[in-house]
């Protein structure tokens, strides 16, 4: 087993770079402005980030906006599944390039993608720290030791494994932007329904998405109502008791709203099915693009699984 001693300054540079990357994502995503007024913020209507808006740019004109939503969903979901099955750096790199290219073509705000990435960056950073420390050493693994800290050793294979997971997560997260933000959410859900997902589930998702904003608003108002009477969330039985009452009241109010919404639906002729005016018409061009995406995903997967055989086949 080989041992590499990393000087402390190199470790500091690596940690600083990782922190800077996360911080830039966080700042680009506008997370720092959450809940605070600022005279300098842009007029981007997408900036309230506590619940992601899924169809703010649904009316653009990019390739993804024009693509039939059913074909788009099938293709991108298939590509995502293939991407998470990849194991080698080169193929993952290609997957990352495809995802980044898709984001650029879709023209969705980079800020939204950054926000999505920053939301999971904490978990990914933890993986990057924990896995090198916990992955068992095998024959041939490289041990990395910090200069002056001999009792703490990292497994280089752990870094590689964590890096792969990070890459897969980034590919899927970035692909969600062209998938979800290039059509109104109701159109996306109609397409999902046409692809065979149960109607009831689709309706529930649509209603959930609509009322999560109302629910959030109600929750914020109640929280403020507690805060202005001195409540501060601390560790202790009193806080737990107040939080229990708060959640209970939210639950009761949500139940009552559910009943009222259902009654309002009945009064407008609801009989169990949400009517929809969405019509889909996939052209040969749409199917051709889907075939290209599926082909590319399969190609990457094949390259990843049978790298040697493919190289031999191509004469390398």
């Amino acid at each position: 087993m080989s041992v590499t001693v990393v000087p402390w300054w190199a470790a500091a540079v690596a940690v600083t770079a990782a922190t800077a990357a996360v911080a830039s994502l966080w700042l680009l995503g506008g997370s720092g402005k959450r809940g605070k007024g600022d005279a300098e913020v842009s007029s981007d209507p997408d900036a309230d980030t506590s619940v992601p808006e899924l169809d703010v740019v649904g009316s653009g004109s990019s390739f993804f906006h024009r693509w039939d939503p059913r074909c788009k969903i099938l293709s991108l979901v298939f590509f995502s599944f293939m991407a998470v099955s990849l194991n080698h750096g080169f193929e993952l790199g290609v997957g990352l390039a495809v995802a980044a290219g898709s984001l650029a073509v879709a023209g969705t705000p980079l800020r939204a993608a950054a926000r999505r990435l920053s939301a999971m960056s904490g978990f990914l950073l933890i993986l990057l720290v924990i896995m090198p420390l916990t992955v068992p050493f095998h024959e041939g693994d490289r041990r990395i030791v910090l200069e002056g800290v001999p009792f703490l050793s990292f497994n280089a294979r752990g870094f590689v494994l964590a890096g792969r997971i990070c890459a897969k997560a980034v590919i899927v997260a970035v692909l969600m932007e062209p998938l979800l933000k290039t059509a109104p959410f109701s159109v996306t859900m109609a397409a999902v329904q046409r692809l065979g997902v149960p109607v009831l589930l689709c309706q529930m998702i649509l209603l959930m998405y609509r009322y999560v904003f109302v629910f959030r608003h109600e929750m914020q108002r109640m929280w403020v109502g507690m805060t202005v009477r001195g409540f501060r969330s601390r560790s202790g039985w009193q806080t737990l008791g107040h939080l229990g009452c708060f959640l209970g009241m939210l639950f009761v109010r949500s139940m009552e709203r559910t009943q009222r919404v259902y009654e309002a639906m009945l009064c407008r002729g609801y009989t169990g099915v949400f009517p929809s005016t969405v019509r889909f018409c996939a052209t040969p061009r749409d199917w051709a693009w889907s075939a290209l995406w599926v082909g590319a995903a399969l190609g990457l997967f094949a390259l990843d699984r049978w790298q040697g055989a493919v190289a031999r086949l191509l004469g390398f």
Binding site: K33, V41, S186, V214, V224, G230, R253, M265, T277
Partner: protein
């Protein structure tokens, strides 16, 4: 039962009966009897005001009429057919109901989808539905917002959108539950304009009798689930004993309007005294041909204590001082722009402005919930850090929706919530809670569940929860929303007794005139007027500016005053 005002004139046999209710009763699963032996006929094309105190059964009756609940006893006929499973779809197609909260109606992710929901369920083609959507959204002035998600609309816009969604099915009967609750004057007028164009049968549940006055010809008064009056609307509002018996006596409002002329703003409210003085005035002169301010002026005598006197008498640094304060929401919208505001201890100011003018934003800054750019001083100290964290001890706020403050399982705990955080325990806590409950007329209700209280009781409970903490500054956000006139009058009495510094956010000019010395008008986040309330009330031009248009209410007020004077 007291004398019943003029009974409704018998209809000629040619008028078609739309609804026929015969001895209808309804009891909720928890045993609460909401309707008791209601017998009622509704004729085609009638405009009926369904009024009564909070909890009198109005909403339950509306639900029975549109087939959402079946009566426990009695019979409901619609257009000659008994309302049952077979007739339900026809009933629901022809009867539209608008609930109080517009979010209950807007369950789709685009406004156009919400409006198209009904027509599509009725079998309209996509093209027909699109045409209806365009027509209805234009009707309510939201044609440009068809693709927007409901949560991106203001409250007033959502209310109008909900009405468009109901009207899209072209109902022949429209039932409205508190259509004007929380709406500013501009949105109320837009709503009224749409309703005037509706030619079908209209049943309107509201505590806003001024609004109903311009709309309805017949009044049905419910009292504890039973029909107590069925009469001409004008006859009802002209007969004060009937109004008073059902908690609907809104005549105190006329006296509020003239409060700055004749009634000491902060003295003993003495409602009976108000009404005696008022009635005497009403009988002296008919103001029908004059603007409201002039009409009121003719009754009035000079204010006993001018506003400026009380303000000048207060010395020392201002309690609240905002200097060039701006706040911008994370979505880029300006909440406040360069606001400067000074308030002295004990002062009472009204914050006026259309929906979205920045009133609630300003309140949330004053209470320390939001932080913007500029200088905010409280008692001379800049509000930041420790001062900001401790602001809740001195500044209390009562929200528009009192349910937002209800997080406890009993009224006692609700009032004790803030006190416990102030460090009260044991007998001191108990005494303070009971004092606060008694102050708002809720003594003996300490163990009741807040959720089970009526709207008026809940509002008073939320006020008690804040008053118990004895704040230096009390902010009230739309205190009259959803209250019946009796509860409004009671609330007015409670608030008038307070000696704390008061900031009143309201669209209700009556409360503004009765409770405040000074009026600050906000428009698009800026302070556009800061003047004595009396001066504001005397200036009809000011009242029509900045989306505050109260001319409709003034007009109704004039006509009702003249009726009382007749």
């Amino acid at each position: 039962m007291h004398w019943q005002a003029t009974p409704v004139a018998p209809r000629s046999p040619s008028e078609a009966v739309l609804f026929e209710l015969d001895d209808v009763s309804y009891t909720y699963p928890d045993g609460k009897e909401a309707l008791r032996g209601v017998s009622l006929s509704v004729f085609e094309g009638e405009k009926i005001a369904l009024v009564g105190q909070n909890g009198s059964g109005k909403t339950t009756l509306a639900k029975v009429l549109c087939g959402l609940i079946s009566p426990s006893r009695g019979r409901v006929m619609f257009d000659g057919r008994a309302v049952g499973k077979d007739a339900l779809s026809d009933l629901r197609r022809r009867v539209g109901i608008l609930f109080q909260d517009p979010d209950d109606h807007l369950f789709c992710n685009r406004l156009a989808d919400d409006v198209a929901f009904g027509p599509l369920n009725d079998g309209a083609s996509s093209e027909q539905a699109s045409a209806i959507v365009a027509e209805m959204l234009d009707l309510v002035g939201l044609g440009a917002h068809a693709a927007k998600a409901p949560h991106h609309l203001s409250y007033g816009q959502r209310k109008r959108a909900a009405l468009a969604a109901i009207l899209a099915r072209r109902p022949s009967v429209l039932i409205l539950d508190e259509p004007t609750a929380n709406l500013d004057s501009k949105n109320t007028e837009m709503l009224l304009d749409v309703l005037h164009r509706f030619s079908g049968t209209l049943l309107c549940i509201s505590h806003d009798l001024m609004f109903l006055y311009g709309l309805c010809r017949r009044a049905v008064v419910l009292h504890r689930g039973a029909v107590h009056h069925d009469t001409d609307f004008e006859a009802l509002i002209a007969h004060r004993p009937s109004l008073r018996d059902h908690g609907l006596d809104f005549t105190f409002r006329f006296l509020c309007c003239s409060g700055h002329h004749g009634v000491p703003a902060h003295g003993d409210p003495d409602p009976e005294g108000f009404s005696r003085r008022g009635q005497e005035r009403f009988h002296h002169e008919s103001p029908a041909s004059k603007p409201l301010s002039h009409a009121l002026h003719s009754f009035a005598h000079p204010r006993e204590k001018p506003v400026s006197d009380s303000m000048e008498a207060r010395t020392g640094p201002p309690l609240i001082a905002l200097e060039d304060y701006s706040y911008r929401y994370p979505d880029g919208t300006w909440g406040l722009r360069g606001v400067s505001l000074h308030m002295k201890d004990g002062e009472r100011i009204a914050l006026l402005g259309e929906n979205g003018a920045g009133k609630s934003t300003l309140a949330s800054i004053l209470v320390g919930i939001r932080t913007g750019r500029g200088v905010y001083r409280f008692r001379g100290e800049i509000v930041r850090g420790r001062v900001s964290k401790e602001l809740w001890r001195f500044v209390g706020i009562v929200f528009q929706d009192s349910m937002d403050q209800m997080v406890s399982s009993s009224c006692f705990d609700e009032v004790a919530f803030g006190l416990k955080h102030l460090g009260f325990t044991g007998s001191r806590l108990s005494r303070r809670v009971h004092e606060a409950l008694a102050r708002v007329g809720l003594d003996g209700m300490a163990e009741r569940v807040p959720h089970h209280l009526s709207a008026g009781e809940r509002k008073r409970l939320s006020l008690a929860a804040v008053l118990a903490m004895e704040p230096r500054v009390l902010i009230l956000d739309e205190p009259t929303a959803n209250l019946d006139p009796e509860n409004e009058e009671r609330l007015l009495g409670i608030l008038d007794d307070l000696s704390t510094t008061l900031i009143l956010i309201s669209h209700d000019i009556c409360f503004v005139s009765a409770l405040t010395d000074r009026t600050v008008v906000l428009h698009r986040g800026c302070v556009v007027q800061d003047l004595p309330t009396a001066q504001f009330l005397m200036d009809d031009r000011l009242q029509s500016l900045y989306g505050l248009d109260v001319t409709y209410h003034n007009r109704c007020c004039r006509q009702i005053l003249s009726m009382h004077g007749a």
